[in-house]
Amino acid sequence: MNTLDKTTDEVLRLAAEHFKVQRDQLSPDDDFFKKLGINSLQALDLLTRIEQHFQIELPDYELQGVTDFRTLAQRIQTRL
């Protein structure tokens, strides 16, 4: 099973790929709305990619109130 750090790292990599930015420009505590200049719908778009990667199902509500990669990784971690 992944550690939280590994999950966070994988989320950052997926986000970088999905939103076409350099991986090293993103860090766990970044506010992804601000950093990537995205809205909540674009953030939801990333969830499908995350689901496929981790082979889990993440309901939309898991993203509710989440604004940084680390918290998102924590939500994923509880479902691994």
């Binding site: 809205n39 719908l41 674009q42 939801l44 778009d45 969830l47 499908t48 939309d60 109130g65």
Partner: protein, 569 residues
Amino acid sequence: MLDLSQYNSLGEALRAALDRWPNEICLIEADRERENARLTYRQFKDQALPLASKLQNAGLQDGTRAAIVMTNQSKWLISAYAIFFCGGVLVPLDYKLTAVEQLQLLAHSQAKFLVIEYHLWRAITQSEQFKNLAARTVLVTEAPANADLNGAHRWEDFRAQAEPAFITRKRNDPACIVYSSGTGGRPKGCVLTHDNYLEQCVALTSLYPFWPGVRYLSILPTNHAIDFMVGFIGPFTCGATVVHLRTLRPEFIREAFTKYKITYMALVPMVLKNLERGLRQRFADLPAGKRKILNALIATNRALTRSRPHLKISRALLPQVHQAFGGQLRALFVGGAFTEPETLQFFYDLGIPVGNGYGCTEAGTVITVNDLKPFRGDTVGKPLPGMEVKIANPGAEGIGEVTVRSRTLMSHYLDDPEMTAETIVNGWLMTGDLGRLDPYGHLQLFGRKKNMIVTEEGKNVYPEDVETYFAGLPVKEFCVFAANYLWPARTMVGEQLLLVLRLETGQEITKELVTDISERNRRLLNYKRISGYLAWDRDFPLTASLKIKRAELAEQIRQNRKRSALVPL
């Protein structure tokens, strides 16, 4: 459609609908590729009545307030009908609020019953404020088998077999209490009557009719006034079908259009723009030759639909575009926030009319909507039948505050006669929005008079609610404003909030203070955040009860600072 003039309450009208179209499908609940539920009107009734019976056993009677906090799904509508059947007053709460905010509104509404999804209930029970929950009967949907429900009941098991007694209500009795704002500050609980809803429903369906076979795709939260009307009351009183989609992910929305052959869908500008972005990208990816042909077809469609929509022509000219939307789409409704004319025109030129509307909860949902005769992207349409719109104190260009009079106006704000009196003056609702009626009777909006913002997700954000998150900030005083309230701008897009800081004598804006502000800001939901701050060098004007005189402070700032003084966070 039912003749709604024959009914006195939403419960009565819905009850008649369930008996009128027993074999039509009323609800489909989809989650990604799965279908969780598909119910006929008869099956809907069969699920709702045992729930109503048990609710009556538990003490739900006429006038009892019952809240629903759920995402879009079939149990939302089944529960709402059961509450109306028992004569209850529905309190639909926004499931996207935090648990603390939900608890505040539950306390304000004094709801005795609560229907809630398991994950939302879990968040509430983990909140420190949970002990203050006043609801005495809580029904939780979709709870795992071994979950500790903290005294709540499983919605799925909360059933009684005895025939429930239908409770009649009068037209002017409250049907719902809908919060238009006020989680942190002063709650604005709009008390809407059965008459408000039934009148609104007649007006809306006269322009955009539903009938058996129509399929409405519901993605806006059902607690939102628009979805409650066009995704529940409207289709149900016409025998149509509501398709709930339990995810807002763009790929599943696209799939739902084709899978369920959707007829109508209501959305907020953000979702519409996202659809536009996707389509524009697909068009841009076409080979040059095909793109040229497409542009010519779009131009032809535009010319042929100038005076009114011609769905058959548009579907024949642009079959691939229409097939991507399922081939049956008649119109999209957009509201909740301002939509740019270019976006509306883009869809209209493809033969997909967008009924752009304007409204507010206080007015009973919709005030104006585009009637497509002809389509206009530069306005929010004409007043609905029965809706009088007047511009108060118009300036030289005819722009003034939009005021509204109609049978659909809310009765009052719950427990706040003072705010009610400020908002409804001599029977006219003061919207706080600035607009102008053009010679054709279309309403154009030009900004706001009130101190608030609306995001493109259709969320109303009030500075007073945001301020609570900055309580205890180590400064002498602070206040949150909408930037366009301080410096009026003729726009309704890109609105921002800012924090005005009055420092202690000798205090300076340090890195620590900015970090403190940023951290508090991050605790707010993303659409509620402030965009920057402004240092102010005078004490705030205060009332005798030590509240900030916001209008006076705003005037002082307006006279002495420019928008450029705002420091972005």
